[in-house]
C-alpha cells in the first residue's frame, strides 16, 4: 500500500545537539521521515542512535537544533508533551508491559484514561490490535505468562491502540532470544506493509535492508551516511564498510 508523501515530513531533525555532561552524544544530527516511510537508524553502540530516537518523543531534551514531529516543535520547552505522545507510539527494548495488568488492561489503559474512550469500545479495540499482532488468545493473560516475543508483540499492540501517526522502535528485538525475534519482526513488517510511518533503531541488518525505505548510519554522534537500503550492500564510507563488514550484516 503506497501513500502519497505529504509535503512536510512527519518527523524532522535539524542540526540536533545533545550532551550528557561532557560527553557529546548528538553532534548536529539531521534527518527527516516522510509519511508512510520506514527509516532504520543503525550504528555501533554509543553512536547516539537510541538517543536520537528518544529525542523524537522527548524522552531526552536536546541542547540545540530543531525537532518537528507532526507539526510540533519538540525542542521548545512549551511543547505539549501529552499531545505529542498521542501522535507518537514508542516500543522499548525491555517491553515495559505493566506487570500488574492483564494484556487487555495494558492496552485499554491509555485509550480509556487519555482519550476518554468507553470501556467496551476500548476492549473491542484491544481485540483488534491484538489480532494485528497475532495474540487474540492472550487477552486475559498477565505479561509474565507470555514469552519475550509475545510480550514485545503485546507492547506493540498497546502502542497501536493509541492510533499513533508514527511509531518508534528502540532495539525492540535486542532482549529476545534469536528464535523469538522472527515473530516480532514479522509484526513490524506487516505494519510497514500497512503504511505505518516508522523509525527504528536496530541491530538486525538483514531486516533493516529488507524493510527500510531509508537507512541512517550514525557514527560518533553524527549522521555519517544516509540513503536507500542499498547503501548497506554498497557502502561508500570506510566506517560503514567496517560496520557492515564486522558480521553485522546477517539475515
Amino acid at each position: 500500500m503506497q501513500q502519497t508523501a505529504s509535503p512536510t515530513p512527519i518527523v524532522s531533525l535539524r542540526d540536533v545537539q545533545k550532551s550528557f555532561g561532557s560527553l557529546k552524544v548528538l553532534d548536529g544530527v539531521s534527518f527527516a521521515v516522510e509519511r508512510g516511510e520506514v527509516l532504520a537508524i543503525i550504528g555501533r553502540s554509543g553512536s547516539g542512535k537510541s538517543t536520537a530516537l528518544r529525542c523524537i518523543d522527548r524522552f531526552e531534551k536536546v541542547d540545540g537544533g530543531e525537532i518537528i514531529v507532526c507539526g510540533r516543535r519538540v525542542d521548545l520547552p512549551d511543547i505539549d508533551l501529552r499531545a505529542l505522545r498521542q501522535d507518537v507510539g514508542i516500543v522499548f527494548q525491555s517491553y515495559n508491559l505493566f506487570p500488574h495488568l492483564t494484556i487487555e488492561q495494558n492496552i485499554t489503559l491509555a485509550p480509556c484514561s487519555v482519550k476518554r474512550m468507553g470501556l467496551s469500545e476500548a476492549k473491542a479495540l484491544a481485540r483488534k490490535v491484538l489480532a494485528q499482532v497475532g495474540l487474540e488468545e492472550k487477552v486475559h493473560a498477565y505479561p509474565e505468562q507470555l514469552s519475550g516475543g509475545q510480550q514485545q508483540r503485546a507492547a506493540i499492540a498497546r502502542s497501536l491502540a493509541m492510533q499513533p501517526k508514527v511509531m518508534l522502535f528502540d532495539e525492540v528485538t535486542s532482549a529476545l532470544d534469536p528464535e523469538l525475534t522472527g515473530e516480532v519482526l514479522k509484526v513490524i513488517e506487516q505494519l510497514a506493509a500497512d503504511g505505518m510511518t516508522m523509525v527504528m533503531v536496530t541491530h538486525e541488518m538483514g531486516f533493516a535492508r529488507s524493510i527500510a525505505d531509508r537507512i541512517v548510519f550514525m557514527h560518533r554522534g553524527k549522521v555519517h551516511e544516509t540513503g536507500p537500503a542499498s547503501i548497506l550492500t554498497a557502502p561508500t564510507t570506510p566506517e560503514l564498510v567496517q560496520f557492515v563488514g564486522t558480521g553485522n550484516l546477517k539475515s
Partner: protein, 227 residues
C-alpha cells in the same frame, strides 16, 4: 513463693474486655486508613521536584521516627487543647497514631516507589498518561505490592502500639485492663488475658491484610504467587 491465679474472677468482666478489644481494632482501623494515606502522600512528597515539599516531608518523617510515640501522643493531646480544639480521647488517639504511622509508612512506600523500574514510567509517559494517572495506575499498586509484607507488619505494630493511648484515657483494651485490675486486684491475670487478646487481634489483622491482598492483587490470586 507461690502463685495463686484466679482467672474466673477476671474473666467475669469479659464484656469489658471485648469492648476494649473492639475499640482497639477501631483505633487501628482508622489510623491505618488515614496513616496509609498520609504516608503515601509524604512518600510522593519526598520524591517531588519541589525542594521545599521534599524537605518538609523529610523533616516530618525524621522527627516522628526519632521520638517516642508516648511523647507524640501527649504533644498532640496538649497541642490540640492549647489551640482550643476540644476533641474526644479517641479522636486525639487516631490523630496521634495517624501522624506516627504515617512517617513509618512513608519510608516503606518510598522503598516501594524506588523499586518500580524506570522503564515502567517511560512506557506510561510514552502512552501520554498524566503524572497523576501514572502514579495512580502504574506506580501505586505495584509499589504497594512490593512492600505489602512490610506494610502488614507495620500496621499490626501500630495496633499493638495503640495500647499507649490508654495514657490519655482512650478506652481501648489496655485502658480497660488498667481499670479491671484496679477493681479486681488481679493485675497479673488481667494482663495475661489482655496479652492473649492482643495476640488474637494481631492474628485477626494479619488475616484481614491477607484477604485485602487477594482483592488488591488479582494477578497474585490468578497465578498463585505468594506475597
Amino acid at each position: 513463693m507461690s502463685i495463686e491465679l484466679d482467672f474466673p474472677a477476671v474473666l467475669e468482666r469479659w464484656p469489658n474486655f471485648v469492648g476494649g478489644a473492639i475499640l482497639t481494632l477501631e483505633l487501628a482501623f482508622f489510623a491505618t486508613v488515614s496513616g496509609a494515606l498520609l504516608g503515601t502522600l509524604a512518600a510522593v512528597g519526598r520524591g517531588t521536584h519541589s525542594r521545599l515539599i521534599a524537605r518538609i516531608c523529610k523533616v516530618y518523617v525524621e522527627a516522628i521516627r526519632n521520638t517516642p510515640l508516648l511523647v507524640q501522643i501527649f504533644l498532640v493531646y496538649f497541642g490540640l487543647a492549647s489551640i482550643g480544639l476540644k476533641l474526644s480521647a479517641f479522636t486525639v488517639a487516631v490523630v496521634a497514631l495517624t501522624i506516627n504511622v504515617g512517617a513509618y509508612t512513608a519510608e516503606i512506600m518510598r522503598a516501594g516507589f524506588e523499586a518500580i523500574p524506570r522503564g515502567q514510567i517511560e512506557a506510561a509517559e510514552g502512552l501520554a498518561l498524566t503524572r497523576f494517572q501514572i502514579y495512580w495506575h502504574i506506580i501505586l499498586l505495584p509499589a504497594v505490592e512490593k512492600v505489602y509484607p512490610a506494610l502488614t507488619s507495620q500496621f499490626v505494630l501500630l495496633m499493638l502500639a495503640s495500647s499507649v493511648c490508654s495514657q490519655i484515657s482512650a478506652e481501648e483494651l489496655t485502658a480497660v485492663a488498667n481499670y479491671i485490675q484496679s477493681d479486681t486486684y488481679r493485675a497479673f491475670e488481667t494482663y495475661i488475658i489482655v496479652a492473649v487478646l492482643y495476640i488474637l487481634l494481631s492474628l485477626v489483622m494479619r488475616a484481614g491484610f491477607w484477604g485485602l491482598g487477594l482483592v488488591l492483587f488479582p494477578r497474585r490470586r490468578q497465578l498463585g504467587t505468594p506475597l
